[in-house]
């Protein structure tokens, strides 16, 4: 007879698994009432710390070669594949969806990692341009990351929505702070463990946990957050981000999506979080 060790699911901030500074946790139960564990409840100050971590990691992440970022994204897929059954079981317990459905979701997630991993070192050639200019100059336009992105995770899925929001954002060198869906904090925290074993540098993806609603206004107003990703969000949530995010002209991605479709991925998801830098260069005689 031994006592089961019930896991406390931590926040993932700056590459570390931490409890909330507030000390609050939320009890999580499966649909049939079984106790699954405690999820740490991210507070306003945890959000502040997470944005700080994302900001300080951004230059280093953007400075890696696109090829290297692609390898790291691919590795996220590898780690997810290796732990797919364990992951699916947690999702099954937390969401109540069948184990089969959950396994399917993890598989789709792995495929999505491979898709976005492939884009990292091709993006510049595909959307960068050599511009026709009237003079002895070259004119280049190249994509650069927007900066720090706030991700309000898709509320309708445990993993695939959040992952489909995170991957295009980080593929180009952005860093992000994720507010997980209220119903799936354990899956989100577990995804942090995948990231921490995938060579993703600390601070590139920061995952809070708990309840989105009290954090929304602080994320929307944060002057050091450059863009927001929403997916299948309530209309009033989107309104909040649009109006409060205007102060520093945040880019906002929103809309409805069925992320389980095998082709629910696209180059345009990446383009929503890049800025175009144009350079003039004299032609040498």
């Amino acid at each position: 007879m031994r006592l089961n060790v019930i896991k406390t699911y931590k926040l993932y901030v700056g590459g570390k698994f931490i409890r909330s500074e507030s000390g609050y946790t939320i009890e999580r139960h499966s649909k049939d009432g079984e106790f699954l564990g405690h999820a740490c409840k991210g507070s306003r100050k945890d959000l502040r710390d997470a944005v700080k971590a994302a900001r300080s990691a951004q230059a280093g992440w953007a400075g890696k070669t696109a090829y290297n970022r692609g390898q790291i994204l691919y590795r996220i897929g590898e780690m997810l594949e290796a732990r797919s059954e364990e992951f699916a079981e947690l999702m099954h317990a937390e969401s109540g969806a069948s184990l089969e459905e959950c396994l399917k979701e993890v598989e789709t997630a792995v495929d999505r990692c491979v898709y976005y991993a492939g884009w990292t070192d091709k993006l510049d050639s595909v959307i960068g341009t050599v511009n026709p200019v009237a003079g002895p100059f070259f004119g280049f336009s190249v994509p650069e990351p927007t900066g720090v992105v706030g991700i309000v995770a898709d509320p309708s899925t445990a993993l695939i929505g959040m992952l489909s929001q995170v991957l295009p954002v980080i593929s180009t060198g952005n860093t992000c702070v994720v507010l997980p869906a209220d119903d799936y904090p354990l899956t989100a925290s577990e995804f942090g463990e995948i990231l921490s074993t995938s060579d993703v540098p600390g601070g590139v993806v920061n995952i809070l946990g708990g309840v989105q609603e009290p954090l929304n206004p602080h994320l929307a107003k944060h002057m050091d957050v450059n863009a927001i990703s929403l997916s299948n969000a309530a209309a009033d949530t989107e309104d909040l981000y649009v109006s409060e995010g205007a102060e520093n002209l945040k880019r906002i991605r929103s809309g409805e999506a069925d992320w389980m479709q095998p082709d629910a991925h696209s180059l345009s998801e990446i383009q929503k979080f890049v800025e175009t830098k144009s350079v003039w260069h004299p032609v040498e005689a």
């Binding site: 502040r48 944005v51 602080h218 107003k221 944060h222 002057m223 050091d224 102060e247 520093n248």
Partner: protein, 306 residues
């Protein structure tokens, strides 16, 4: 050379009473546990601004950079005109004229490092010339470094006499004596050096140049504050304190203010007796104040990069 003897000035105890290192560390850590919120925090941050010696000590300093810093020192945040000005702008001697003309009539002092800052490794005559030049160019305050080589060799009388000479060369300017605690090895030495500096005529004692790590720490500052108290109780003279280097956040600044208040009392909570040598601290405070004013967390993108 001065005919004064250090030994005759120091009371017994100032040299041979050891500092309790563990006690100092623990006491200093306690000052970081006070809860200072909203209105008290606001007042504390305003006070901290008025005590900043806004510093630029880089090889790449230019007159333009110094003028920009002076403008910022006078009016820290163009979006909030109610903020106080900083205590002083601290520059290299070659920039004193530029700073003095930019700060004229503003109430912000010009502080200049001198005496072959940061190492102090020049002949005394050269160091004195540098001080005189800085003062005649318009410096209100001189930040000198002590002769650490002499100090660590036990030539305390020499260290003392050099400070006395520098103080003379300062004329009307205030003298801050930098101990460079990161090179002094022990709290006992910090305490000894503090007493030598104060006995030799320092108006302020200062922890560090900012060029040596560790720079200012809370326990070291506490040891120096205790020495200032001993000096005050013996002589009745109030000496100022300036921690410098490594104080970058609003929270740290508030910790230091708490330590000064709880060690020396309200009398020392004025820019005349307490300064913080810093460069990036000011922006952090401005961002905190903007957060309080607007409710939104701030970004360094919107504050001047200096």
């Amino acid at each position: 050379m001065s005919s004064l003897s250090l030994a005759s000035l120091l009371s017994p105890g100032a040299f041979d009473r050891p500092v309790d290192q563990v006690g100092a560390n623990e006491r200093a850590a306690k000052f970081t546990k006070r809860s200072i919120k909203t209105e008290a925090k606001h007042q504390g941050l305003l006070m901290a601004i008025s005590m900043i010696d806004l510093t630029t000590l880089e090889g790449k300093d230019s007159p333009g950079k110094v003028r920009q810093l002076c403008t910022k020192g006078i009016q820290p945040d163009p979006e909030d005109l109610s903020l106080p000005h900083v205590g002083a702008i601290c520059v290299y001697p070659s920039m004193v004229r530029t700073a003095a003309s930019a700060l004229e009539g503003s109430g912000v002092n010009v502080a200049s490092v001198a005496t072959a800052f940061p190492s102090g490794q020049l002949a005394l005559s050269e160091r004195l010339k540098e001080v005189e030049q800085a003062v005649s160019d318009g410096a209100d305050e001189i930040d000198m470094v002590i002769n650490r080589g002499a100090f660590l060799s036990g030539r305390y009388q020499e260290v003392f006499e050099e400070i006395v000479e520098v103080k003379k060369a300062c004329g009307p300017a205030h003298l801050k004596v930098i101990l460079e605690t990161g090179e002094l090895e022990s709290y006992d030495n910090v305490r000894r050096a503090s007493h030598i500096g104060m006995m030799a005529g320092a108006d302020f004692i200062k922890t560090s140049t900012g060029k040596v790590s560790p720079a200012a720490t809370m326990p070291v500052t506490l040891v120096m504050l205790e020495a200032i108290r001993e000096h005050y109780l013996e002589t009745g003279r109030k000496i100022g304190m300036k921690p410098a280097g490594g104080i970058r956040t609003s929270k740290q600044a508030l910790h230091y203010l708490v330590m000064v208040k709880e060690t020396l009392g309200d009398d020392w909570l004025t820019p005349d007796l307490f300064r913080i040598g810093a460069s990036s601290l000011l922006n952090d405070i401005l961002m905190q104040l903007a957060k309080q004013r607007t409710g939104a967390y701030q970004s360094a993108d919107y504050f001047s990069n200096d």
